[in-house]
């Protein structure tokens, strides 16, 4: 068992970060030039970290699987980014942002990390403005804000519905400047497949060049994992097609603990699945719930007619509509948090009140706000989203309510890191969605972008210095070291094994099967029997995968099926760990809902007595059960209360 030291500095909460910064070591400019850092991932977390550390003088090598760093999935974030600027004079503050994030996370995150996040949030906005991010502005020229779910102030900054895109293009531009100056060596279409550990320290990575199929060795004094979330375990999600858990999984297999794998966020407003052949789900922004009312029919016979396509929503009389969120949660109504809204939709559909041919959709209706505010106002607010919806579904949301259903969106779990964002493997760091650190069991809207950029611009560039200060005597790591040779061979063996199965079924067919198991038993509602069954079914799936996988094409060339095979192999293992973690956590908290742990009226019930800990799973070797380490969470500044939205 590994003893986990979170390295949270002593002292009052609000002073921890400044005290810590004053205490940690700094590397001189002359020595920075001698140190190499690998950053895997070019999203908001990796891109900002790579640019900042290169500007400081380190030699950075950056990696992404797409053909350009600009295409990392951060690009798809729509809504916005939080910061405690208090520009609206609505009494926002670092403490309020800290408190909202801790509470929103259902008291399963570290106080010290979250407070630091809130402290640096304002600097992020300044940095992005300086880079030329075209945030929305008021007529007077100042920055504009909107409000988001779960909070009482307006602190969300945005650039139309393309905030993630603009923030990413900002840090990508900074990266480009450093690439141009030779301080970042950029490796596109290059995927991490293993991590090289020499004498207990992370010293490099093994990658596959996706264009040539060659296996490559890259060395450095430290390795940073910034590879995003693993929501694609479920096959269908709002993540990009290539999003994967591979790098995090390799970190785990090399000794880094994996924390809270079962914490997954399910977003309530996505376009429903249209059929068996779907590959991807599309998010409709959370902001729509400000003006849309969610409902299903009251009468079963109406639902059945809707499912058969015999009537439309407009045929259902006013008194026969069940606004179930307003009914169940009169004070928050349609604006309950994501996890609550998602479960309520599932409950209605499971009871047979779904409104489309699959029975898995509810209405989000703008009729009432159009009547109240006029079509022009609604068009000004959501025109582009309505247009996107119509392109996909061929249905006009001004005339018929939107159909929505929950979908997998974000993973709060990830690689365990200490306060310095270092894993328990020295020299191996994890930032952004890839780590577990700041969102507890549920993430608030507009906080992932904040965390990615906080980690990359303002936390890691300092904390990595504390580690590297002791490495300045270490010469450039030789890629001919036997550990590199060993790991390269392991990767080649792994990939040739997958390639040589020569079975009959495609990678996708296995991925879809895994997705079904995960959605059914490790999705929105979980129980002991289901989770045990999931573990069994995943094990059977794994056997079939190794027996019957087919990877056509050439081995040593671009081979998209081989890329996917590696990712799905890791997803299968990760899926099993998620089920194990969900089984261990017998309480309900945030996005994790155990049917055995509910209040009388079916709401989630936390169990602070027994579960106020971070689960940090430790790999024990192939086929062996992992060990569970527990990091107790200590709350000195907030009082734990049961969330209620009634």
């Amino acid at each position: 068992m590994t003893v986990l030291n979170s390295k949270i500095p002593a002292g009052p909460l609000a002073e921890k970060w400044s005290n810590h910064k004053a205490a940690i070591k700094v590397v001189s400019p002359a020595n920075k030039r001698k140190l190499d850092i690998i950053v895997v991932g070019t999203g908001l977390a990796g891109g900002s970290a790579a640019a900042s550390m290169a500007e400081m003088g380190y030699n950075v090598k950056a990696f992404c699987y797409q053909d350009s760093g600009r295409r990392a999935h951060s690009i798809a974030a729509q809504g916005g980014i939080n910061a405690a600027k208090n520009y609206q004079n609505d009494n926002d503050s670092v403490h309020r942002l800290f408190y909202d994030t801790i509470k929103g996370g259902d008291y399963r995150a570290r106080e010290a990390n979250v407070h630091r996040l809130a402290e640096v949030s304002g600097d992020i906005i300044d940095q992005c403005v300086a880079q030329g991010v075209p945030f929305a502005r008021e007529y007077g020229g100042t920055l504009s804000n909107r409000s988001f779910g779960g909070v009482l102030v307006s602190r969300t900054f945005y650039a139309r519905g393309q905030t993630g895109q603009q923030l990413l293009l900002g840090c990508y531009a900074s990266m480009n400047r450093m690439i141009g100056q030779g301080k970042i060596e950029m490796h596109e279409r290059n995927e991490l497949l293993d991590i090289v550990i020499i004498e207990g320290k992370a010293r490099g990575i093994i990658t596959r060049n996706l264009v040539t199929g060659e296996i490559e060795r890259h060395s450095a004094h430290a390795v940073v994992i910034a590879t995003g979330g693993y929501g694609n375990v479920f096959f269908l999600s709002t993540n990009a097609m290539g999003c994967n858990g591979g790098a995090a999984w390799q970190a785990y297999k090399n000794g880094a603990c994996f924390a809270n794998p079962c914490y997954v966020q399910i977003h309530p407003t996505c376009i429903p699945i249209h059929g068996e052949q779907q590959s991807k789900l599309t998010l409709m922004s959370e902001s729509l719930r400000n003006d849309g009312r969610v409902w299903t029919p009251k009468k079963k016979e109406d639902a059945i007619k809707l499912q058969k396509g015999q009537i439309t929503a407009n045929d259902i009389a006013e008194e026969d509509r069940d606004f179930y969120l307003e009914r169940r949660y009169p004070s928050y109504g349609n604006l309950v948090p994501r996890d609550v809204a998602s479960r309520a939709a599932k409950e209605r559909c499971d009871e047979g009140f779904g409104v489309n041919e699959t029975g898995k959709a509810v209405y989000l209706d703008f009729k009432y706000s159009i009547e109240r505010l006029g079509k022009d106002v609604i068009e000004a607010r959501y025109g582009n989203l309505f247009q996107m919806y119509e392109k996909i579904t061929a249905s006009n949301p001004y005339e018929l309510p939107m159909q929505i259903y929950p979908a997998i969106h974000y993973t709060m779990g990830g690689i365990w890191v200490d306060y310095n964002l270092m894993t328990n493997v020295p020299g191996l760091f994890a930032i952004g969605e890839a780590n577990f650190s700041d969102h507890g069991a549920n993430r608030l809207g507009a906080s992932a972008l904040m965390q990615g950029l906080a980690d990359g611009y303002f936390v890691l560039p300092y904390t990595i210095g504390d580690y590297l200060a002791d490495e300045i005597q270490v010469p450039r790591i030789d890629v001919n070291h036997q550990e590199f040779i060993k790991k390269e061979k392991a990767v080649t063996d792994r990939m040739t094994r997958l390639y040589n199965i020569k079975g009959t079924k495609s990678v996708d067919s296995f991925h879809k099967r895994l997705g079904h198991i995960m959605w059914e038993y490790v999705g929105m509602a979980r129980n002991e029997d289901g989770l045990k069954l999931a573990i069994k079914e995943i094990q059977t799936l794994r056997e079939d995968f190794y027996k019957d996988l087919r990877v056509p094409g050439d081995y040593d060339a671009m081979n998209i099926e081989l890329e996917k095979a590696g990712r799905v192999e890791d997803f299968i293992d990760l899926g099993e760990l998620m089920a194990r973690d969900a089984l261990d956590r017998k309480e309900s908290c945030g996005g994790h809902y155990r049917e055995e742990s509910t209040t009388e009226d079916g709401e989630a019930k936390r169990d602070d007595q027994n579960f106020t800990y971070v689960s940090a799973w430790e790999y024990q070797g192939e086929g062996k059960a992992p060990v569970l380490n527990k990091e107790e969470l200590v709350f000195e500044n907030v009082k734990l209360t049961q969330r209620s939205y009634k």
Binding site: Q66, K85, P134, R160, R177, F458, A557, E561
Partner: protein
């Protein structure tokens, strides 16, 4: 709207083993595709059939499937991003096609974008242009407060219009000269419209244009074809702005 089933489609697609190999069109049949299916899902289904039949699937670039990452490309029936307006290939749906249709799919064709495999091309020439100057020279930290420089709503909106470019390359693929002017002008305009970016505007335009020429993109002859096929509605007015900035830089020399 209820989806229909397209009983049979003929897919004529460019297949090329690698950058050096000679490519050619292959023809496949595909049946029973719902009109609610996206174009790339149709290709997923075709690929699944190819794999099941023991053939290597068609390689194409894609990632977000939401029209924002700029990874998907494809020249479909003679149009970049296919037969619909203001969208990317991943947002195209099969309801744009008739039952029985023959659909022709090609990669982007441009000297500066060589084919890597099948429908995948190498767009790193775009990266090189941005590395030459597509940024504001600030380091992390030590910048003024976000509200220290007021920016008029109009300027912010105009900058945003130009910043919406997703770097897909449809403009280059569409242009008969394979010019990258729309792409370059979008970045130059985005930054030149903001006070923070004004400072380096002339220098930026000059280095980016020089790099563009070096990477083998063609000249702009103002045909306006790029604007028509740009999925993000980037306007050719940006090209005029780029030319102005470029002229300023030249005069300064």
């Amino acid at each position: 709207m209820a989806d229909k089933i397209l009983k049979e489609l003929t897919i004529k697609v460019w297949r090329q083993k690698n950058a050096k190999a000679q490519g050619k069109f292959e023809t496949y049949k595909i049946n029973d595709i719902s009109t609610g299916t996206s174009f790339l899902e149709m290709l997923d289904i075709l690929n699944e059939e190819l794999i099941n039949g023991g053939t290597e699937p068609i390689a194409f670039d894609h990632d977000c499937r939401e029209g924002i990452c700029g990874m998907c490309s494809l020249f479909i029936d003679g149009r970049a991003h296919g037969p619909d307006d203001d969208i990317t290939t991943c947002q195209l749906h099969m309801r744009k096609f008739e039952d029985g249709a023959t659909i022709t799919i090609e990669p982007w064709r441009a000297g500066a974008f060589p084919v890597i495999k099948d429908l995948i091309v190498d767009r790193t020439a775009f990266e090189k242009i941005l590395q030459a100057g597509g940024y504001i020279s600030v380091n992390t930290g030590g910048v003024p407060d976000g509200n220290a420089i007021p920016i008029s709503q109009d300027d912010a909106e105009e900058a945003m219009d130009a910043a919406a470019c997703i770097g897909c390359g449809a403009c280059v693929a569409t242009c008969k000269n394979s010019s990258a002017m729309l792409f370059v002008s979008a970045k130059v305009s985005h930054l030149a419209k903001l006070p923070q970016g004004r400072i380096e505007a002339a220098r930026r335009a000059k280095s980016m244009v020089a790099k563009m020429d070096e990477m083998g993109f063609g000249n702009c002859t103002n045909t306006g074809a790029c604007e028509v096929e740009c999925p993000k509605g980037i306007s050719i007015a940006n090209i005029a702005r780029l030319n102005r900035e470029f002229l300023v830089a030249k005069i300064k020399d």
